[in-house]
Symmetry: C2
Subunit: 202 residues, 2 copies
């Protein structure tokens, strides 16, 4: 084991290498960059991490991860309170909210039903979703789960669960991604896009 | 600006995006990962950063960056004290030391001479290198600068400067990288490898 630097620096490299997108090589590069920019990046990053770690919690309403509870989405009075968009993971919530198309509420399931992995409804936040819908204010539930087998199974399960309530249950449209080339799309997507074709207004 | 999370989390994403290899997208993914692994990654990473930031300093002997001064390399009594390997940057020192071939001393120049960027000998650690050689213990100086125009110019400059001392001045060999295919190599490398060809012992 070469010792061109101390074990503290080694420990830092090991931890950075755990981040997605950073392998051992880029963790070393990042560490060097941090060492060289001690005051402008390293110390602020340490403080930012400590600060967020102190405050991070799971929103008791929608299970979003945030520094507030209820989270910024649930707290925002300008957002529509009659629509809930159900997503698998916090990353999906962030992605949808970046698109700035949806200004309603969210509900983070925490995964999908999966017989293989032994994940049932009790492992997800299904009950709290039902409770929110039972509350009466909700008019539409948008199922924005991934277009995978497990995601679609979970969508069907939730749609059935929600049948007894007076809410509209919708799902994201399937189709050609914007900017996508037909030649590169799989048959399933093309078939779905054809089935869901719409008239062109001129 | 969507507000699916607090400004503290935003600040963390911005800082992580400054690391080499992490763009805005992977900084967001990393942040989410950190939020989900608060106790196992986020808090240890914050402590590791703080710990290293407190201790980091530049070695007064060789200009390596380390948590010790003199650094781990200069402090190590098992290393050969008669050979100095001159490198441009700390990253080169780390890379050479990982190869575990060289067990002597290092000297970090801090860059290369560059007329275009206005970098002269006074901006580099040339004087402290001369002082180390003047000390008398050194028998060989290995110039391990990059094979760029600036790197080679700096090598020539240093070789001239070192002429007055009784030391051997050497440079890294040029040639075919181990595992490299001739077809993909540039003409300059091939020419250098041909010129420096050696006899095959059998």
């Amino acid at each position: 084991m070469p010792k061109s630097h101390g074990s503290d620096i080694d420990a830092l490299i090991q931890l950075l290498a755990k981040l997605p997108g950073l392998g051992p090589r880029s963790a070393r590069r990042s560490t060097l960059q941090l060492l060289k920019k001690r005051d402008s990046v390293m110390v602020p990053l340490a403080h930012a991490l400590m600060n967020v770690a102190d405050k991070v919690q799971i929103c008791e309403v929608c299970s979003n991860i945030d520094t507030h509870n209820p989270c910024h989405v649930c707290e925002d009075v300008r957002r529509d309170r009659t629509t809930i968009c159900v997503v698998e993971d916090v990353s999906d919530l962030w992605a949808l909210d970046r698109s700035e198309t949806f200004r309603g509420q969210y509900h983070v399931l925490g995964g999908t039903l999966s017989a293989l992995d032994g994940i049932g409804p009790d492992d997800l936040t299904v009950d709290s979703l039902i409770e929110r819908v039972r509350g009466g204010e909700i008019e539409e539930v948008i199922l924005a789960l991934n277009a995978t087998v497990d995601g679609q199974t979970t969508s069907h399960y939730l749609a059935e669960k929600l049948e007894e309530f007076d809410v509209k249950v919708t799902a994201l449209a399937h189709g050609v991604p914007v900017g996508g080339e037909l030649d590169y799309l799989d048959d399933g997507t093309l078939a779905a896009a054809l089935r869901a074709r719409g008239s062109v207004s001129s």
